[in-house]
Amino acid sequence: MTDYRYDNRTVQGFILSAIFWGVVGIVVGLLISIQMWAPGANFAPYLTFGRLRPVHTNGLAFGLGVGSIFGLSYWIVMRLCKRPLLFPKLARVQLWLFNAGIALAALSLMAGHTQSLEYAELEWPLDVAIVVLWVMFAVNVFGTIVKRNEEQMYVSLWYIIATVIAVAVLYLVNNLAVPASLTKSYHLFAGVNSANVQWWYGHNAVGFVFTTPILAMFYYFLPKATGLPIFSHRLSIVAFWSLVFAYMWTGAHHLVYTPLPDWLQTLGIVFTVFLIAPSWGSVVNGFYTVGQDWSKMRSSYLTKFFVLGITFYGLQTVQGPTQALRVVSQLIHYTDWVPGHVHMGTMGWVTMTVCASVYYVIPKIYGTEIFSEKIANVHFWLVLVGQLLFSITMWITGIRQGWMWKATDAEGKLVYRNFIDTIAGNYPYWHTRTLAGIVFTVGMLFFVYNVLMTIRKGRALERSEAPAAPAAVTVA
């Protein structure tokens, strides 16, 4: 029992760290959304849009995303293996290294140290740190799984194993670079190859950070929260293998109409369209699972987070392949449509699922209930409204600006020759996006408050139950 207790504290440490970096990332996101319509808000060189945008994306992908993936994967792995982590102390070291790494990452990006590769901006010393972190994670996950006390590996473990493997391959290859100094390096690949390797990485970082580990959470916590078994094991199997097989082929859909050879673009587009099938395998599985008893939507407050989360996953995985088609790409690529698409996935699918998982885990650590279901419901509606307002606004302005770029008159002359004329009309939409961000942020603050109050309640409970025991070690 002592071991279990210790591991839970590491899990909680990762969750709280993820929440902290999540708040930082979201606040930076709000600032850069303001900079889009108020250039005066670029207060100093290290606070300009160009430097802060990667702080926002890395802070949320690696801070909030990977932090919660570490914590919640450990929770899932321990339960599904029926044993504590094989190396609990290593996990504790990993937690501290993780926080130090993210802090240094944010500072280095603000100083302008960047590889200019999306989601792989960090320079090589930090890349080395991330590889070390990932090896620690892999050792603990595989070690614990190999020494497990449960014969069968459940679906969530498949997705976690796939995540560990795929991210390792992607990260190692795309970050191959030759250093010029401690803070500057040059990508090993040039031009079209640099682009192709980067988007093979970039798209699959989305696939194996924002999809497979989140599906692991979904498959584990949805049945736990609702008490309903997953609808079809066979569908889980088919969806898993087709997803991990097809994902790696699709990166070139980010490079449609660029100088990348056509055959690579076409191959990427074809597999992207195919990817609808495995994605919807999980969507259908999720819906039919809750479909066994829809009254859970009312009786268990977490159900709606998972149902909305998987709904946005479903929408995301149809919208994505649609965007990959040449005829759609030529209109919406490079416009605000794309941030709209990304934020439906991150603010809808990822945030909903991670928050619900955290709501499930934190009270379980202390053997108590959530501090307030009412606050969780307010949180739910605010992030839902904030995200919809964000995405829909960005889709509209993306299509609008895309058409203005293309508009030509009868003579073939551009109707909006001055680029600024196509930007001027974006401002009202960019104001709305900031408003949407504020609504979403307020929702997330309700979440943070709820989690912290639940922990406080849990600690008080511990003290009253075991007054003679030494004070609990806190990890935050």
Partner: protein
């Protein structure tokens, strides 16, 4: 899938690895050895020291967050970014072979500002680029670009440029020992602003995308449209639609340090006006025409050629507009003019808000 692998983690992990490596091998690894992924346009050279320093600044400031560097082979895009001027059809959009020394590629994924792949052809004026980077809203009132005036106060880090060249040489960019040795002298006294401007002006220049040269200058030719009201109105329309105002101002008064006034007593840096045909030639052929007009003018050859975008008749209409504007200026009292300028400045300040 046999049920057994779900209780054998090692076998399972091997199978999952194979599953992710198939797509990796075909779409990531195999292209690395394909000849079409290793093309190079003729005469492609590595960036000189100052431009390389500028590229490092471009990376450091995250310019790639808002500016793409690929002109797609779409008609409207080729026209917008003036690839349509190129004589070779294949030079009208971005080519794989232009980027053979780009470590990493900087194509970007979001066009909050315009594409910059052909910027060296589109806005060849160093003065304009510098003034715009220092204060974008001064030249483009509604722009949302941050100001980069602080770059003018930063000296180029010469040892870093040499180190960059050595690192790039290791990944296959053919810098010579002489290039590395000379790097320090090449960037001596230069600021990061100089470097960034030099880099931006180099974009797209590896391929000839210039308009067909050789504009025939006939200074005796008269403006066939004369001072017709319709021509002046159309000229004003074309002036706005073709972005002339971005450099020369709404009323052709020019902007200090960016582009000259076209309605004062000077033309091409010398006192005394030239006939309408000189204006016509400058719009049609750009800065290259200056010597033929007998006025080599100021050093910055920033005027672009509009000969392939505008019909002769359109160009004459713009000349009509300029001439009308000049006549208007001459008859206007100094006091009125001052008042008008003041109002225009206020309007611009309001636009910015």
């Amino acid at each position: 899938m046999s049920g057994k692998i779900y209780s054998k983690p090692v076998t399972f992990a091997v199978m999952a690895t194979v599953a992710v490596l198939v797509g990796t091998a075909v779409t990531m690894a195999y292209p690395l050895v394909r000849p079409e992924m290793h093309v190079k346009v003729e005469g492609l050279k590595p960036l000189p020291a100052l431009e390389l320093a500028g590229r490092d600044v471009y990376q450091r400031e995250g310019c790639v967050s808002c500016h793409t560097q690929t002109v797609r082979p779409l008609k409207s895009e080729v026209v917008r970014y003036l690839g349509s001027r190129a004589q070779e059809p294949t030079a009208r959009y971005s080519l794989a072979g232009e980027f053979a020394y780009d470590h990493p590629f900087l194509w970007g994924s979001k066009r909050t500002g315009p594409d910059l792949a052909f910027e060296g052809w589109i806005k060849p004026s160093a003065d304009w680029q510098r003034a715009h980077l220092e204060n974008p809203q001064k030249l483009v009132a509604k722009s949302n670009m941050p100001a980069y005036a602080f770059l003018s106060g930063e000296k180029v880090d010469a040892p870093a440029v040499a180190a960059s060249m050595r690192a790039l040489r290791r990944v296959g960019v053919p810098y010579t020992d002489a290039d590395v040795t000379a790097a320090g002298a090449d960037v001596a006294g230069k600021t990061n602003m100089d470097a960034l401007v030099a880099y931006v002006l180099s974009l797209g220049k590896a391929v000839n995308r210039g308009a067909p040269g050789g504009v025939d200058v006939d200074l005796a030719a008269a403006n066939p449209l004369g001072a017709a009201v319709a021509a002046v109105a159309r000229g004003k329309q074309l002036w706005d639609a073709n972005g002339c105002a971005a450099c020369h101002g709404d009323e052709a008064h020019g902007q200090d340090g960016v582009a000259p006034n076209l309605v004062d007593e000077e033309f091409l840096g010398q006192k005394g006006d030239l006939p309408d045909a000189a204006y016509f030639a400058m719009i049609k052929g750009g800065s290259e025409v200056k010597p033929a007009l007998g006025r080599p003018g100021v050093a910055d050859g920033g005027m672009q050629a509009f000969g392939s975008d505008l019909k002769d008749e359109d160009i004459w209409a713009i000349v009509s507009f300029l001439r009308n504007q000049k006549g208007h200026e001459a008859t206007e009292s100094k006091a009125e003019e001052a008042k008008e300028h003041h109002e225009a400045a206020e309007r611009r300040a309001k636009d910015r808000k």
